[in-house]
């Protein structure tokens, strides 16, 4: 108890509170601008922490991480362009809510459920860090492959009208991510000898292209061909979600928090997988699945809760085993080590005070994020007052800056344009583009884990059916595909029956 009180005192100093707030603000800004990732924000924030005490320093990094994870939803909801891959699933229902004039409710809900998910996962982490880390570390390549395959099965739920077109879209996403230098053998794949192509297609660049460029083209086309239709995106009102709305979604928030924490604890997964799985789960078990994609608040609650619950989950292997789950937590790990805190089994004995201080810092970071976002919503929604075509000009410049700044490469601006134009053509042929993102997010992990598993088993496929965990995930994937096939069959049968009844 004494150690906890000492930690509380060290985390509640004005310096620590201010540095956590600064981190949350930096993270929010970087997270909400497409292309500027919170990983970049963490890399920029790391040198600032060198001269600070451990708790404020780690608080700054954790604040940046948490702010970035939450900030991705702002542009996803307002503009339909996810700020981070974790927010890609939020676009599906968040942006339609904006079009209906409910942007502030979607933004308010997103931040409140994010804080819920984050603090829930922190509590789970504190209570079960030892148990969860043991379970998570037991996930080998075969188990991660099965989990990712299960994640891919959610494509079925994102297909809109046609399962075949959704699968085509997913296959295109998987194919795009095979371009570049093969990470296992170092062989060039489909690079045509170009040095720029060797680095492959960056996920963020592709995401900006897929979501932002069609928005820009459409805004410009409407202005030039139908000026009378060119108007502001929607009505602007600044109201927050009611307690009743949040209460009705409490059970969904708890389920998605558990899902996010569990997935976050497995190294190599991350917020994007968690948010898509949570979205699919919410849709599948919703009383009104047909309203998903049209502005159902559950479609905002599920992914936002899950992707923030990942933050607590990723801290489990990070603190207990010293394994960072993603590039962002790798920078947090670097920050810990710079301040003499070496994660691992002995961490809780040698640095208990600092660990408790970090727990308090996470709570403070979420409170900062909540305060900043709730105040900011009143400002954010005014973006929608800008005429759509002028907003598109701003988006064009910001997205080009975002794409360029990822690797300081003009090639990424060209890639963004090419992918965006291709996405516009695909949308005009009524092909859903969300499965492309899912394929791109999951593709590299799927391939690498499959190949590693096969290498470990010396080519024996038994590795994929000897583990109960693998079998559970395979069964879940089959279940999802089966349920989707049945619902498509029912949907096709229904109009025929209606026609007969009319006759």
């Amino acid at each position: 108890m004494d150690i906890f009180l000492q930690a509380l005192a060290s985390a509640m100093t004005p310096m620590a509170i201010a540095s956590i707030g600064l981190g949350a603000l930096i993270g929010l800004i970087f997270g909400s601008i497409p292309g500027l990732t919170f990983t970049v924000a963490l890399a920029l924030a790391l040198p600032i922490t060198f001269s600070m005490d451990p708790v404020p320093a780690i608080g700054l990094l954790l604040g940046t991480y948490i702010g970035g994870m939450t900030g991705g939803s702002v542009s996803a909801i307002l503009l339909g362009i996810p700020g981070t891959p974790s927010a890609a699933a939020t676009v599906l229902d968040g942006h339609p809510m904006t079009k209906q004039g409910n942007a502030s409710i979607a933004l308010g809900t997103a931040v409140i459920v994010s804080v819920f998910g984050g603090i829930f996962s922190l509590i789970v982490m504190i209570v079960s860090v030892d148990l969860v880390s043991r379970v998570a570390i037991s996930f080998g390549p075969a188990e991660i492959f099965a989990l990712v395959l299960f994640g891919l099965s959610t494509i079925c739920g994102l297909c809109g009208g046609s399962l075949i077109k959704g699968l085509i879209s997913g296959a295109l996403g998987l194919m795009i991510m095979t371009v570049g230098l093969d990470t296992i053998d170092g062989v060039q794949r489909m690079t045509f000898g170009s040095v720029n192509m060797m680095q492959g297609v960056n996920l963020l660049v592709a995401m900006i292209g897929l979501f932002a460029v069609p928005f820009i083209i459409e805004a410009f086309a409407v202005k030039t061909s139908m000026p009378e239709k060119s108007q502001r995106i929607s009505r602007v009102k600044a109201e927050l979600p009611s307690i009743g709305l949040l209460g009705r979604n409490l059970w969904l928030m708890i389920k998605c928090s558990i899902m996010g924490t569990g997935i976050g604890a497995i190294p190599g997964t991350g917020g994007a997988i968690a948010s898509f799985l949570a979205y699919d789960h919410a849709k599948r078990f919703s009383k009104k699945p047909e309203t998903f994609g049209k502005g159902n608040i559950e479609g905002v609650v599920a992914p936002e809760t899950a992707n923030n619950a990942v933050t607590g989950g990723t801290l489990i292997p990070l603190l207990s085993l010293g394994i960072p789950g993603d590039p962002a937590t790798a920078i947090v790990l670097a920050g810990l080590m710079i301040h003499g805190i070496t994660p691992g089994p002995a961490l809780f004995m040698n640095h208990a005070g600092e660990v408790y201080g970090m727990y308090v810092a996470v709570v403070l970071a979420y409170l900062w994020v909540l305060g900043l976002q709730l105040v900011g919503i009143r400002l954010f929604v005014h973006v929608l007052k800008i005429p759509r075509e002028l907003l598109a000009v701003g988006v064009l410049v910001l997205c080009a800056i975002g794409a360029f700044s990822i690797r300081n490469s003009v090639f990424d601006i060209y890639s963004m344009g090419a992918i965006g134009v291709a996405a516009y053509v695909l949308v005009s042929f009524r092909v859903p583009i969300t499965p492309i993102i899912l394929g791109m997010v999951l593709g590299p992990t799927l391939e690498n884990e499959f190949r590693t598993a096969m290498m470990l088993s010396m080519g024996d496929p038994e590795i994929f059916y000897s583990s109960p965990t693998v079998l559970v995930f395979f069964s879940l994937a089959l279940l999802v595909i089966g349920l989707q096939a049945v619902s498509e069959f029912k949907a096709k049968k229904q109009p025929k029956n209606e026609v007969k009844a009319d006759a």
Binding site: G160, E218, G417, L456, M458
Partner: protein
């Protein structure tokens, strides 16, 4: 173009893409070493074949069975384009040109010169705006605002020109 004609065009184009992709993969990427080494060729090749198979399925479904899928692009995606007018395709080509030209100018002239050129072009030529207040405000505001915020405040490198550099 009707929905079924669009689907036939889509499946044939993607079928051609999958054939070229698979051929290039087989021709340029080596196989694995065996004994469990799934080489770098396996995944791209299998994906190319899967894409081809799906396109054939779509073609059969549309052309032979005469079924057209639902009229929506997909859950929550960018709005399905209701009418593919010539203005829309023109706008698409113009945006592609603008992005490519911006990339080129960014490299050669740097952010502080390339950005106002892009914004002026988009506002005056593409959108045919005539309000000089809006044009000047957007051009100078966006350029200087982004430069001050990203380069000076956040320390993010924005391109300097290789021909000449004023940033």
């Amino acid at each position: 173009m009707t929905n079924s004609a669009k689907d036939v065009a889509l499946s044939l184009s993607l079928l051609a893409l999958s054939a070229v992709w698979t051929w290039l993969v087989i021709d340029t990427i080596p196989t694995g070493w065996g004994h469990g080494d799934i080489g770098p060729r396996a995944f791209p090749m299998v994906l190319g074949i899967i894409l081809g198979g799906l396109c054939i399925l779509l073609l059969i479904r549309t052309y032979l069975l005469g079924r057209t899928p639902a009229s929506k692009a997909g859950t929550g995606d960018v709005d399905a384009i209701e009418e593919a007018s010539s203005e829309r395709w023109g706008s698409m080509i113009l945006v592609a040109v603008e992005i490519s030209a911006y990339g080129f100018l960014l490299q050669k002239l740097g952010f502080l010169i390339a950005t106002p050129i892009l914004i002026l072009f988009v506002l005056v030529i593409h959108l045919r705006l005539r309000s000089w207040k809006t044009i000047l405000g957007m051009t100078l505001g966006m350029t200087l605002g982004c430069w001050l915020f990203f380069e000076k405040l956040l320390g993010i490198y924005l391109a300097n020109g290789s021909w000449f550099n004023i940033g």
